[in-house]
Symmetry: C2
Subunit: 116 residues, 2 copies
């Protein structure tokens, strides 16, 4: 009941979203709303070099390389990762600004609800 | 290119997500990865009373009341909103802790990337 006193304050809860903003954000969220893509994002982001070769990513999954390529393409189209080919392989890295857009939407701007 | 130097630091990018955590988070993200549900979440959260009657929500959309009810049920099942019936109508409010889970996943823990 305490939760409804109105100051939950994440941007998503501060003012009604316009239709076009909602469509744009939903597309970005759909790109991450998949277990394989979330794992890919976390594997790329946490790779020691800050970037990961596609050859480092496929072994962790029970799906085929073309399926992994599809998921990487979805993340890249959404602007969450970028990449470049070097010789045989494509290397990917996180685009932190785009990841942060997701965080900002759901993060309270005021003091976090720590009290009580 | 600067983005790949490894300190993008949002929890999603700090260590590889385990399969079960990825499945759990993907389900939560799917609940918000829809323009109508994002708008509902924002309308409920920003309602002056901190809660909104379903009767206040349906008029803003070109879809039927049962469709809105379906979307509200998805949000409620994901724990992002809660609600209770009072007389004729059901009233909904945001569950800030669950919304914040989404924010935490994508928000850098270190200093935000403001420089450069």
């Amino acid at each position: 009941m305490a939760a409804r006193t109105g100051s939950c304050c994440a941007p998503i809860a501060r003012q009604p979203l316009a239709e076009d903003a909602a469509a744009d954000l939903a597309a970005l969220l759909k790109a991450v709303a998949d277990p394989v893509r979330l794992r890919l994002l976390s594997m790329i982001g946490s790779h020691p070099d800050g970037e990961a070769c596609v050859c480092d990513l496929t072994d962790a999954f029970d799906v085929t390389a073309p399926t992994i390529s599809h998921h990487l393409k979805v993340l890249r189209t959404a602007g969450l990762i970028d990449g470049e080919r070097r010789g045989t392989w494509v290397y990917y890295w996180i685009v932190p600004q785009q990841v942060a857009r997701l965080g900002e939407l759901f993060t309270p701007l005021a003091a976090p609800a720590a009290a009580g």
